[in-house]
Amino acid sequence: MDIKAHLKTLSELHAPSGYETAAREAILAAWQPLTDAQETSRMGSLIAYKYGSGAQPRRKIMLCAHMDEIGMIVSHMEGAFLRVGELGGIDSRAIVGKPVLVHTRDGALQGVVGVRAPSMLSSSERRRYPSLEEIHIDLGLSAEEVARRVRVGDIITMDLPLLDLQDRRVAGKAMDDRACVAVVTACLDALQRLKHTWDVLAVASVQEEVGLHGARAEAYRLNPDIAIALDVTFAPQPNVPSPTFELGSGVPLALGANFHPALFEAIKKTAERLEMTLPIEPVPMASGTDAWAIQISRDGIPTALLGIPTRNMHTTVETVDLRDIERGGRLLAEFIAALDDQFLTEIVWDAPERTEKKDG
């Protein structure tokens, strides 16, 4: 499959937290031919089922990548200009002068993130970035036109295309976390050519950036036997402390309290079998990803986290390496293909072993 074309589609669509329709439609289009059944949950997450070949009741693995992106929302109008609030952790320092779309009831309006002219700033303001409260959205329209077309609560997204860099690297908005949605797509694609006995539940979750809400509801509803969440992680660049993971060097597997150690070992073994480099990302406490919500759903779900190294996270030039996406997809598919009836007996801490059988 053409992973770059797929990622371009995913990166360039507009779907901030709570408003994921465009992402859901694009991901459904990609996953439909690769899976047996699809549904939209009450929360708006997309779930695609690829059934395993084992006898019923089959074990279930949930793959979860969030499809929402960070954005803004119109808080009030000030003449011809829009003031904004945040939808997720938008960084006001990295959006000034960049193009946006304001999504109104009559369609999207193009605009730009504006700031005061240098002559309007105090000397201390000239030395610092503007805050989100200080920026405005400029649509190039009159105050009357803005009042007629825009409403408080309309959403705003960054509007920049995917950019090709050297060496199979690409930069763009919403790589967090659509690069990981693309990993799931690559996995589903690879599973077309592999036999697997477990059911695969591919989840494109909503509202991760505002509190992991989509994954929390889906983990409860789907009640998988194990879950692997996927999210972006940090690549080396100035002002980012280690540990970081170079682009193209593999998909880091997280290790820490948020993850089941036996599941961690099992995935690590798969990578070893494939002779695939698998960096380890230490995450001592909260991972800040869907894995955090999934792990404590119901009776507790053995959870793992794979990362895609990303530079400039939460900007419009989030930079990833296509090889990591392909490699992540292959690792997941090979891991899933190796899951058998006995697998859950390995996912234990220590004696006495858990013997209760989970509800299907």
Binding site: E78, G79, F81, R83, G89, D91, R93, A94, I95, V96, G97, K98, P99, L109, Q110, G111, V112, G114, V115, R116, A117, P118, S119, M120, R126, R127, R128, Y129, P130, S131, E134, H136, D138, L139, G140, L141, E145, D159, L160, L163, D164, L165, Q166, D167, R169, A171, F234, Q237, P238, N239, V240, P241, G288, R311, N312, M313, H314, T315, V317, T319
Partner: protein, 346 residues
Amino acid sequence: MAELLSLRETLKKLSEAIGVSGEERQVRQALLELTKDRLEDVVIDTMGNLTARLKGGQANALRVMLSAPMDEIGLMVSGSENFLSVLPVGRLDMRYVAAARVLIGAQKLNGVVLFAPIHKTYGQDELPEPKSILIDTGGKNSAKVGERVAFVGNYAELSADVVRGKAFQSRAACAVLVRLIEMLAQAPLPLDVYVAFTAQARIYGRGATVAANRLKPQIAFLLDGAECDDLPRPEGDTQLPTVRLGGGTVLRAAEEMGIPDQRLLTYVRNIAESQGLPYQIDISEAYGTENANISQTQTGVPSVSLSVPVRYMSSPNGLVSLADLEHTQRLLHAALTALTPKLLEN
């Protein structure tokens, strides 16, 4: 005969051309292509200025220079390892630099300005020094020291009147001059008109100095951009805006490097009023045009600037009003139409 582009098309073409100060070739070639049929004695001089005489000029008539700057602010590669280090070209506004997209060198290599994630840098609100800018091209050692780096704009028509794009400070002025050349060619005036598309305006206007030295005008009209301040202000800031988008041509009563010729300023202002053309007076001395350069050539050249209002002028995505461009073109045309040597006698 080159295809005659509309004002909108001309502006788009010029805005999207790359011309970082000191390397204006692409803009110069675009301008030459747009205007060459109307020009004679075309010279690309030692500074990189494009100068010419308007065809059909009257040899003994008043010698008038019309100028517009070509160049834009940008960066220059100063080192190349995993990332590129750079130095600024022109006065950068660092608020616009984080996570910017750039094109590097004549090969137009894609790059992005690194910006460390908010997760690791929350609360670090001080603007960095230009020398801390690093560019990622995806590859290693991907550019040569000395190559120019241009910021990428995202040209778009926001409404029937307002367009978004880069380098409008220079290119909106160029677009006005291109259209004016066409207008003057179709109905010549009894003047000897010289045009100069100037290099290096954003680094002290030194191109204009040489252009004026060579063309030796008796009078000069300069086109440029002016920063709008019709923007939301914090509580307590009761200043009224002086330069509004769509508010008409900006005439400068004062500039950083000099006071414009008062006879010319009054003349253009009176023309605007008699013609019913909108204008605004800017007294901010925060930045200047090439007026200082041109007025101080030879034994002094009476000169005045007509500027197009630009919002977010140092941003890769500024806004201009096409009506402002049209009004500026008409105002300068009207000023030329009524121009006589008498203006300079008192």
